[in-house]
């Protein structure tokens, strides 16, 4: 919808650099000149104000290129016509929009000027009209100008008394102005020849310009006479080349005019209309001239002032008038300005940048008063918000560190601007309007959807309680649990809808008897239900003769594959997200005291917990301090050796234990299967899962006893070592079981070995669940009783997050492996997780106290998810890949019966497809992409190259970050050095001449530019960072 604008902005872009350059130039001049001047003669209070002003103008001007540039460029009165010409280029945008909105606003303005018919009227009216206009209750432009321009105007008020003498001049000059503005539309109309504006301007203006020159020069004299030097310098100087070198000035000004002209031509038809208001404008002024010629002296003197604005103080006066008349023009301007930004910025970069830049004033020098929107940054912000998509805009508004009211106003302003745009565009094409309303509807529906989703979010209240009592670290365990639960719910939904329901429709009668023991063994009755692989048919399901057919074989393999692939990606993405959030700068991660101080856990709300946390924190701070004190104490060689040997011994013992467990499990499994074959006792199948669960229960506790012997300096290290040992144990047990299943059970020639594996996994899961329940209810409870009653020195235990999370990971791994053999496993896991949540919650509330150490919970979460991904999920993928590609499915049961390998179902499917001409593309994709070695080879190569490149980029950025960091430090040093020097200078100066204030002032002022520079540096750094952060998003 803003395409038109954007185009326009784009067209203007070539001119843009020119503009900005020249603008910067003059601006620089202006500023620098203003500086010393104001330093000198002006009194302090004025000075400080005017000092700030150039700044704000600066920053304002930077974005507001076309007009603002025009300002300094056309300070002279001569430039007036030209100026309005250029003004028209931004203005044109405005007037393009004129038909839409300024009408109601502009109208009153004009009317005001007409009715008053003299300049004071026009001057004051727009102001009042602006503020009165209910459409823009908070019209930023107006206030902005009031604020930032008021100081430059000071001189104007000084001028006033000067004027009456030269009343004629301003009078005619103002007429010249009006003529200028009147002729403007004229020559705009004939803008075809870009040279003409100049020539025409010459021909048109001699009169007025001569006049205007006069006031200019006269003003200068007056000025020279009066005390306002800066204005001579700042305004007079640029005036002169313009006014005096008439041949030069057209050239000089012709350039911007061109762009205007080009613009006009670019938007040919459209221009006619907006020109009219201009013409009207001119007429108004013309008419206003007539009363002037009648010389009502009283109004005259006051009328001069604004006319003077228009003329001599062109740079200041004109924009004021404009902005008064159309205070939205600021917004328009900002739209324009935003467009190039939008082009280069690409979305989200923009708001962050703006946000950053906004942060800075808001804390640096608090915006004067409560009119936050008058600062230039606000306009910039608003401007950058407008071209954004609505979602991003809301995001950007939300992320503003402002009060609600400000945000609301901002939103209102932006929306208004947007709606204006869209209304305007509506004239062009109504389909954009359609798009608009669709996007609005989409936004609404999205809101509703997110509301729905958030309403499903489980256990909100419980989480709050847990967080309030135990802090974020313990909460992370429950978060992880909930996350796994969602995972399983999703898997269950997929398998249920694509495998289980179709199978239900063709299920035969189950002839086996249900005894109840099946709940534990998973065998018997259950083996003839949808729970296990063996029950599924290999036929094509078809209801009715003409109904759609459903190939169970393909459905089975595709559903499982889809499930795993989706799991893979969601794991990958959440892992990446965690990594991005938590390991932003791992290389500068230090075990700092700072994090202890500034990372108070705001989630804790429980009184006792708060007190405990405070106590723990003080101990930790104290420990940290003592650590710092002892940091340099080196251990003796002997101590180091003993420590090393202890670690080594601990590792040897732990690996030994893990190996022993694995061997034991393997032999038990092998012997157990032989034993089972001979005995056929339904309960004896529980032996293996029981042993495995016992190992899982006992060995980790044994491991954690190592910490009594091993003394790690850093508690985090201890936790990581413990985690690694535990995960090695659990994964190797699962690995050995997988080996047993795939190489012994699958090849033993049993009928329906897949179902047997499914049953094994079911039993393992169930036993694990029972053990955790027992552990929670008995073990933890007993521990509490012991801790509270008998050995009070032990106290309450702390919740072992690592061990509990590892249990969850273990169970989840089993579920993933088992999904292929027992499609109902996600459902079972869903139920167990659900129960576990409540059990753990109750046990937590009863038996535990909050952890005493500050736990790097989020980092741990990252680590957990990584563990879930790396050994666990990848291991599962390997196991299943081996199963599907290498193993022969059992001959008499399951959907793949009779096939040499599972994967053959895909091969035969492709074969059938290749016979149908309509599906040849699938075949092609399969043969050339999925089944092709070359494709994967090339793909791997490309991925490797990209990875390498990214790696290099990261390295480069690291260096960059380091350099920037050093730069910040250096600048801080610079600043300190300068301040020191200045104070020294000041002291000597004071000693020499105690009455001097000049230096003091310069001293106050000196750090300022530095500050700005520093801010910019920091901002840039942060900006870069935010870009970096956002990059993975993009």
């Amino acid at each position: 919808m803003s395409a038109y604008y954007r185009n326009n902005g784009y067209e203007e872009e070539p001119d843009y650099p020119d503009y900005s350059r020249s603008q910067n130039h003059t601006q620089g001049n202006w500023k620098t000149r203003d500086y010393p001047d104001s330093l000198g003669p002006l009194n302090n209070s004025d000075y400080s104000k005017s000092r700030r002003n150039p700044y704000s103008e600066d920053s304002r001007r930077n974005p507001d290129y076309p007009r603002s540039l025009a300002e300094p460029d056309y300070p002279g009165s001569l430039s007036h016509p030209d100026y309005s010409g250029t003004r028209n280029s931004p203005y044109s945008v405005g007037s393009r929009r004129n038909p839409d909105y300024p009408r109601p606003l502009a109208e009153p303005d004009y009317r005001g000027s007409r009715s008053n018919s003299d300049y004071p009227g026009t001057r004051s009216n727009p102001y009042s009209a602006g503020s009165r206009s209910s459409d823009y209750p908070t019209s930023l432009a107006e206030r902005d100008y009031l604020g930032s321009w008021s100081n430059p105007y000071h001189p104007d008020s000084f001028k006033e008394p000067d004027y009456p003498e030269s009343q004629r001049n301003p009078g005619s000059r103002s007429s010249g102005n009006s003529a200028g503005s009147r002729t403007n539309p004229d020559y705009l109309g004939s803008l075809g020849e870009p040279d003409y504006p100049g020539a025409q301007g010459n021909s048109n203006y001699p009169g007025p310009r001569a006049h205007s020159n006069h006031p200019g020069s006269s003003r200068n004299q007056e000025y020279a006479g009066s005390r306002i030097k800066p204005h001579i310098d700042t305004l007079g100087k640029p005036d002169y080349p313009g006014t005096e070198d008439q041949p030069y000035s057209p050239n000089f000004l012709g350039k911007p005019d061109y762009s205007g002209a080009e613009d006009y031509r670019n938007s040919p038809d459209f221009w006619g209309e907006p020109d009219y208001p201009n013409a009207e404008d001119g007429c108004d002024y013309g008419s206003s001239k007539t009363p002037e010629t009648t010389r009502e002296v009283l109004s005259r003197t006051s009328s001069i002032q604004p006319s003077f604005h228009h003329g001599a103080v062109g740079p200041l006066g004109l924009p004021v008038r404009e902005n008064e008349d159309y205070h939205e023009s600021i917004e328009m301007k900002s739209v324009e300005m935003a467009n190039p930004y939008g082009h280069s910025g690409h979305g989200y970069v923009n708001p962050t940048y703006v946000a950053e830049s906004n942060l800075h004033p808001s804390y640096g020098n608090p915006p004067s008063g409560d009119d936050w929107y008058k600062s230039p940054q606000e306009q910039k912000l608003i401007a950058s918000l407008i071209p954004m998509a609505s979602r991003e805009r809301i995001k950007a508004i939300r992320n503003q560190p402002r009060t609600m009211e400000e945000k609301r106003n901002l939103r209102k302003l932006v929306d208004k601007e947007k709606s204006k745009q869209s209304r305007h565009i509506f004239e062009l094409s109504c389909c954009t309007h359609c798009v608009n309303s669709i996007s609005l509807a989409y936004r609404r529906s999205k809101n509703i959807l997110s509301e729905l989703l958030s309403s499903i979010s489980l256990w909100q209240k419980t989480f709050k309680v847990i967080g309030g009592k135990f802090g974020t670290s313990v909460l992370s365990y429950f978060n992880f649990l909930r996350w796994l639960l969602k995972f399983n719910i999703f898997s269950f939904i997929v398998t249920f809808s694509f495998i289980i329901i179709p199978q239900f429709t063709v299920a035969g009668r189950n002839t086996l008897q249900f005894t109840g023991l099946e709940f534990f063994t998973g065998a018997g009755y259950f083996s003839d239900t949808v729970m296990y692989y063996g029950f599924y048919t290999n036929s094509t399901i078809q209801h009715g003769s003409g109904g759609a057919s459903y190939d169970m074989q393909l459905a089975y393999i595709f559903t499982i594959a889809a499930c795993l692939i989706i799991c893979f990606f969601s794991l990958l993405f959440s892992m990446a997200r965690y990594f991005r959030n938590n390991f932003i700068n791992p290389h500068i991660y230090s075990r700092g005291i700072t994090k202890l101080v500034f990372c108070w856990d705001f989630t804790i709300t429980h009184e006792r917990a708060v007190k405990l946390k405070q106590k723990n924190l003080s101990t930790e701070l104290r420990e940290n301090l003592s650590e710092i004190r002892q940091e340099n104490v080196r251990l003796t060689l002997n101590q180091q050796l003993t420590r090393l040997s202890i670690h080594l011994a601990a590792w040897v013992v732990s690996t030994g234990v893990a190996t022993t467990c694995c061997v034991a499990v393997y032999y038990l499994a092998v012997n157990n299967s032989e034993f089972l074959q001979s005995h056929r006792n339904p309960g004896s199948v529980l032996l293996l899962p029981f042993v495995v669960s016992c190992i899982n229960l006992a060995v980790p506790r044994f491991y954690s006893m190592f910490s009594l012997v091993e003394h790690y300096e850093i508690p985090r290290q201890e936790v990581y070592v413990l985690l690694i040992r535990n995960i090695v144990l659990k994964i190797s047990i699962i690995g050995i079981l997988c080996y047993y299943w795939l190489s012994i059970v699958a090849l033993a020639g049993e009928e329906c070995w897949e179902t047997l594996i499914g049953q094994d996994i079911y039993r393992l899961l169930l036993m694990d669940f029972v053990f955790s329940l027992a552990d929670s209810f008995l073990g933890e409870f007993l521990r509490r009783i012991i801790g509270m009653q008998f050995i009070t020195s032990l106290g309450l235990q702390e919740f072992d997050i690592a061990r509990n999370v590892l249990e969850l990971i273990y169970a989840q791994t089993l579920v993933w492996i088992g999904t292929f053999f027992c499609p109902l496993l996600p459902f079972i896991q869903m139920i167990t997780l659900f129960i576990m949540f409540y059990v753990k919650n109750i046990s937590l509330m009863m038996n535990f106290q909050p952890p005493s150490k500050a736990w790097r919970a989020s980092q741990m979460m990252t680590f957990f998810i990584f563990l879930l991904f790396f050994p666990s999920f990848t291991g599962v993928l390997c196991t299943l890949a081996t199963t599907i590609w290498r193993l022969k499915p059992s001959a008499d049961c399951g959907p793949f019966r009779g096939l040499p390998f599972f994967i053959h179902s895909i091969y035969s499917w492709i074969d059938t497809l290749s016979k149908r001409p309509g599906y040849l593309w699938v075949v092609w994709i399969y043969r050339n992409l999925i089944g092709s070695v070359h494709f994967f080879f090339i793909l791997t190569l490309i991925v490797l190259i990209i990875t390498y490149l990214y790696w290099q980029i990261t390295e480069g950025r690291k260096i960059m970050i380091r350099l920037l960091h050093e730069q910040i430090i250096n600048e801080g040093k610079d600043k300190m050095f300068l301040i020191e020097k200045l104070t020294k200078l000041q002291d000597t100066e004071k000693r020499a001449n105690p009455s001097s204030f000049t230096l003091e002032r310069s001293d106050v002022e000196e750090p300022d530019p530095l500050h700005v520079r520093e801010y910019e540096g920091a901002r840039e750094l942060r900006f870069r960072r935010s870009v970096q952060e956002n990059n993975p998003n993009a």
Partner: protein
């Protein structure tokens, strides 16, 4: 759900939704929480933007803030005049920033303000001492507190000007991954 129309107009709710990280339902819940704080003070009709402020004493009695050592600072930072008395807008603002969805930069900005006790836009030594004292409930001796503060300045002060600017603070926060999850008040 049905009576929400009487509290806010549709536009108001939408504006709140756009300006905070909350859904409609959460906004209503927060409103009722707010209203519960001072039922005789807060009207049930907000369509005309009534100018109501709930005094700090009531705000700080909320269970979410009651035991927070920084409750006063939080209320001051988010209240309009820095006195801790909050309008509904301030109230929503506060919980929006403290919500899970708020981005790191926003949170860091307000955390900085909270820790900046004297509102001079820098966290200076004095601010740090206040913070540490609040954190430890006076369990550390003044010497230890000073040592901790010096250590903090030493670690986090990027430009070595003896105080923490917002940049320093944000930079430090980047290195503290837990900040996002801990600077969070559940409602």
């Amino acid at each position: 759900m049905g009576n929400k129309q009487t509290v806010f107009t549709h536009e108001q709710l939408e504006a709140y939704q756009d300006c905070t990280f909350f859904t409609r339902k959460e906004i209503m819940r927060l409103f009722y929480r707010y209203q519960d704080l001072a039922p005789q003070l807060v009207p049930l009709d907000y369509t005309s933007y009534p100018d109501v402020k709930v005094p700090y004493e009531l705000i700080s009695s909320m269970p979410e803030l009651k035991d927070n050592p920084f409750r006063q600072r939080i209320a001051q930072v988010f209240s309009e005049d820095g006195d801790g008395h909050m309008t509904l807008d301030n109230f929503l603002d506060m919980f929006s920033v403290m919500s899970e969805m708020a981005p790191r930069d926003l949170k860091a900005y307000y955390a900085f303000k909270i820790y900046d006790f004297n509102n001079d836009d820098y966290i200076c030594m004095w601010d740090l001492e206040q913070t540490v004292t609040k954190l430890t409930r006076g369990e550390l001796s003044s010497e230890e507190v000073t040592l901790v503060c010096e250590k903090v300045l030493d670690e986090a002060d990027g430009d070595h000007d003896g105080r923490l600017s917002l940049e320093d603070f944000q930079n430090m926060i980047l290195r503290a991954p837990d900040f996002l999850s801990t600077f969070h008040i559940r409602i």
